[in-house]
């Protein structure tokens, strides 16, 4: 890489800019590390002080006292909280998230098993929700108080007010049991179970990567209903936010000016309106997506697709702290990354944020 050809004053300005940028990155990184440390600390303290004995989860309620004490010692639960936290942190820095007491496997292996299921479901739901939700929100704003706007409002109201497990069961009853156009629960048909080699853990993708197109179609069919259901709920939120942002944007003076210049309504909506709300919308979408990745426990339960949320909930209820901390850390990293991405995108999309 060659050095830029600059005058001495230019060099000074370049160096100052680079330093400022470097400082900015360093402070962002420090912020992220402090956030993650705080998250781990908080989760650790809550986990260790919650009134559930993890030993009961491992060896049951009937184990004799001697064995209970022995296991407590093995797990290091007889040490002080500070000592336990220090041991956990030391191992964490070496990339060791410990072992789950509920599955007996390393937490990293568990996360690699459970997270892809969530990623697959959440990402497909998000893509569908975005493709449908954003245009619906924009059109609803453009036709405020019209029949279309009211219809969208009612549909989105159903989406975020009816409990997800009720919608899930109704969907299963109608599309699977009555109409027979969707498969039941799970992520694969029986004949394909164990046939798709593990690559990403996302079965649809793995089947495609392996060129098993029958297994791909099968897995896609199993994914369709839970993904569409989650997409419907997510879309309801996206529609409401898009509509609200767009209504605000449409009352802006630049829109009046654009109309006065005689620009077409389509251009005003999709270029000027959407262009102006894109930054804010991206931030909201990032948070919604992070929420989906954090876990959609009820959907996962009804459709028998255990993912990260299911893993976290189950571990929490059994005081399986290594698993809880590991999963929380993953979720924390997801939130931080998506927030960072949203910030960058907003700066890129909205000059006022730079």
């Amino acid at each position: 890489m060659t050095a830029p050809d600059l005058s001495p004053r230019g060099w000074n300005r370049f160096a100052a800019g680079a330093l400022a940028r470097g400082g900015g990155i360093a402070s962002s990184l420090a912020g992220i590390l402090v956030t993650l440390f705080g998250l781990v600390l908080l989760t650790f303290v809550i986990g260790r002080t919650m009134p559930i004995d993890p030993v009961v989860a491992i060896i049951g309620d009937k184990a004799p006292p001697g064995m209970v004490e022995q296991l407590r010692e093995e797990l290091g639960l007889d040490r002080s909280l500070i000592e336990q936290f220090w041991i956990y942190l030391t191992k964490l820095l070496q990339g060791d998230l410990g072992r789950s007491v509920m599955t007996g496997q390393p937490v990293t292996a568990d996360i690699l098993q459970f997270f892809p299921a969530t990623l697959e479901l959440a990402t497909s739901a998000m893509i569908i929700a975005l493709l449908v939700g954003v245009p619906l929100g924009i059109i609803a704003a453009a036709r405020q108080d019209s029949i279309f706007d009211n219809a969208v409002r009612v549909i989105s109201l159903i989406g975020y007010s009816v409990p997800v497990f009720v919608l899930a069961l109704v969907c299963l009853l109608v599309f699977y049991a009555k109409l027979g156009i969707a498969p039941g629960t799970g992520s694969q048909g029986i004949v394909y179970q164990g046939m798709v080699p593990f690559r990403t853990g996302m079965i649809v993708l793995d089947a495609a990567l392996d060129g098993q197109w029958d297994a791909f179609r099968d897995a896609l069919a199993y994914l369709a209903m839970p993904a569409l259901l989650l997409a419907f709920i997510t879309m309801s939120l996206i529609v409401r936010m898009t509509r609200a942002f767009m209504l605000e944007a449409l009352s802006g003076e630049y829109i009046v000016a654009a109309r006065a210049k005689g620009l077409s309504e389509t251009r005003i909506l999709w270029r000027h309106g959407l262009g102006n709300i894109a930054g804010r919308l991206f931030t909201v979408i990032a948070v919604i997506y992070a929420g989906l990745l954090e876990g959609t426990v009820l959907t996962e339960t009804v459709f028998s697709r255990p993912g990260l949320g299911f893993y976290l909930t189950r571990s929490l209820l059994n005081a399986d702290m290594n698993a809880v901390l590991g999963a929380t850390l993953v979720i924390g990293v997801i939130y931080v990354c998506l927030n960072l991405l949203a910030d960058l995108a907003q700066r890129q999309l909205d000059p006022r944020a730079r």
């Binding site: 919650m50 009134p51 559930i52 004995d53 009961v56 989860a57 491992i58 060896i59 049951g60 309620d61 009937k62 184990a63 004799p64 006292p65 001697g66 064995m67 022995q70 007491v101 509920m102 599955t103 007996g104 496997q105 568990d110 098993q113 459970f114 069961l169 299963l172 009853l173 699977y176 049991a177 027979g180 156009i181 969707a182 498969p183 039941g184 629960t185 799970g186 048909g189 029986i190 004949v191 179970q193 164990g194 179609r217 099968d218 069919a221 199993y222 369709a224 339960t301 009804v302 459709f303 028998s304 255990p306 299911f310 893993y311 189950r314 209820l317 059994n318 005081a319």
Partner: protein, 532 residues
């Protein structure tokens, strides 16, 4: 208005629908049986030296065999499993087991006395929770060579370290704790002196009908027919899918996407009964629901108050209205109805009698108390019904709902006042429950035996002695008389009100019969499941 775009979209949807519908209507193949079950209780996999809960137990007892097992037709009798015969010495302190010749492990290795001895020694050396039941019989790691040894290739000798009723010893050996593993296979997979424990969590080395192919935590368990099994199963593969939601289980069963459903609720059972394609199986489980009263609470130090509570609760109404088909009334003593020698209950709802007892105890206006319970169904509903029943006799019960682990932790620490909880014996032999509920010889916080009696501060020296003596009585008839007295004393004195007993219900499609429910998880057998 139909434009070109909507026409194209409709055409695409129509094209896709038949392919989804094909997948949707796919029935399960004939050589595979699919069972839906909540398998989130599986902890630490399927090493019999570590397994201890429902699903672990069920799987291990279908992939391994024991020396003896409980008679599937009569859970109070023992039949040989790997053992062809067994006999007790005249002093009753030695049991000699003769193994059936020619039985093979899934690896093709023959089952020998050395494998049996290795399995039982391994159980004690690993010292996981299942070792505790043998420790109760006096087994210790350092004396294992004397306790269990091989006399020849097909003869195992068990020398009892202390006098114990033979039923208790045989029943303990008949649980998955007594499963026999293939020594050569297990030791070939040993890491850092773990006796193959890590490997056996996700693999099998048994002689049962099935072998373990795959376990994905909270997702599925796949079993495959053991090619060397003495009694090969009727189907090649058994897929156990984690379907925690009962309503979903019923939908899948009705559509034929699963063959057996194991966790249906009352509503689903009612619906399933109306479907001619489905067949119901049921068996009394040994799980019991009870109200435990902590005798450190001043009111419960008066036996009349405890008795009043036992007369106050309307179990009939709870069973009929809240838990129909699943929890039946069983208000007798510490033994479930399917264990030998149970005595009938004298309790039923009698509000006037309960009020009179409270008045005699000096509480004519009742008192206030807290009642801990699990927040899930049916516990929360049952707790509310009990609260209403207690209110009728003037006792104001404040309900404290919490997660299972939280309630159990509080109960173990003796911090409850009343707790609505469950109990399930590990053995059909009465000794297990008698010890748990009657023996408390040291009520201090540092007691080495923190029994259920200890948890409720229930101390009765005479009952403690009788329970211990009954466990050591070799005369079967005399022993049953002792348990009879113990149960009646317990009903009269103990701060425990037994309410209901669980009934395990499974539904299968009529083309997939053969599941055997045995009342306890380790007696549920998959080997007979077939498919037409």
């Amino acid at each position: 208005m139909i434009n070109r775009r909507s026409l194209l979209l409709s055409a695409a949807a129509l094209a896709a629908a038949p392919s989804f519908a094909r997948i949707a209507s796919a029935a399960t193949p004939n050589n595979i049986v699919v069972m839906a079950k909540s398998i989130i209780d599986v902890v630490n996999g399927f090493d019999p030296a570590e397994a201890y809960v429902g699903t672990d137990y069920e799987i291990t007892s279908n992939i391994y065999r024991m020396l003896v097992t409980l008679d599937p037709e009569d859970g109070t009798k023992y039949v040989g499993d790997l053992a062809e015969s067994w006999e007790f010495s005249d002093d009753g302190m030695t049991i000699t087991f003769k193994l059936k010749p020619g039985i093979l492990f899934e690896s093709g290795n023959p089952v020998t006395a050395e494998d049996v001895v290795f399995s039982l020694h391994r159980l004690m050396k690993l010292n996981k929770y299942p070792a505790a039941d043998f420790a109760q019989l006096g087994w210790t790691i350092d004396k294992m060579d004397d306790i269990v040894h091989a006399a020849d290739e097909l003869t195992v000798v068990h020398r009892l370290p202390e006098v114990r009723a033979h039923g208790t010893v045989l029943n303990t050996l008949a649980t998955p704790r007594g499963c026999v593993v293939d020594k050569a296979t297990v030791m070939a997979n040993e890491v850092d002196g773990d006796f193959g424990n890590e490997w056996l969590k996700t693999h099998s080395a048994g002689a049962g009908s099935y072998r373990l192919v795959e376990w994905r935590a909270s997702d599925r368990i796949i079993l495959e027919a053991n090619p060397n099994a003495e009694f090969p199963p009727a189907v090649q593969r058994l897929l156990i899918r984690n379907v925690p939601d009962p309503a979903t289980q019923l939908l899948l069963l009705q559509k034929g996407d699963i063959d057996v459903a194991r966790n249906l609720g009352s509503d689903q059972i009612k619906t399933a009964r109306a479907n001619p394609d489905l067949v119901e199986l049921s068996a009394d489980s040994t799980a019991q629901m009870n109200l435990c009263m902590n005798m450190s609470v001043p009111e419960f130090q008066n036996p009349k108050v405890i008795e009043a509570l036992k007369w106050a609760v309307d179990c009939e109404a709870i069973a009929n209205n809240i838990t129909p088909d699943i929890w039946d009334v069983w208000q007798a003593s510490f033994l479930p109805r399917n264990v030998r020698g149970t005595v009938p209950s004298t309790f039923h709802k009698d509000t006037e009698k309960a009020k009179a007892l409270l008045a005699e105890a000096g509480y004519p206006d009742g008192f206030s108390i807290t009642l801990d319970h699990f927040s899930s169904w049916p516990w929360a509903n049952v707790a509310q019904a009990i609260q209403a029943d207690l209110a009728e006799i003037g006792i104001k019960a404040e309900l404290i709902a919490a997660e299972t682990g939280q309630v159990i932790t509080k109960y173990r620490a003796r911090q409850h006042q009343i707790v609505l909880i469950y109990w399930a014996t590990n053995l059909y032999d009465p000794d297990y429950n008698a010890r748990a509920w009657c023996i408390n010889t040291d009520d201090s916080d540092d007691s080495p035996l923190k029994s259920q009696a200890w948890r409720n501060h229930f101390v009765d020296e005479e009952m403690s002695e009788l329970a211990d003596a009954a466990g050591k009585e070799l005369d079967a008839d005399k022993r049953m008389e002792m348990y009879d007295k113990l149960q009646r004393d317990f009903m009269a004195k103990a701060p425990v009100s037994w309410l209901l007993q669980l009934r395990e219900i499974a539904m299968h499609r009529k083309e997939a019969p053969g599941l055997h429910l045995g009342g306890m998880a380790y007696l549920n057998r998959f080997g007979g499941i077939s498919k037409s």
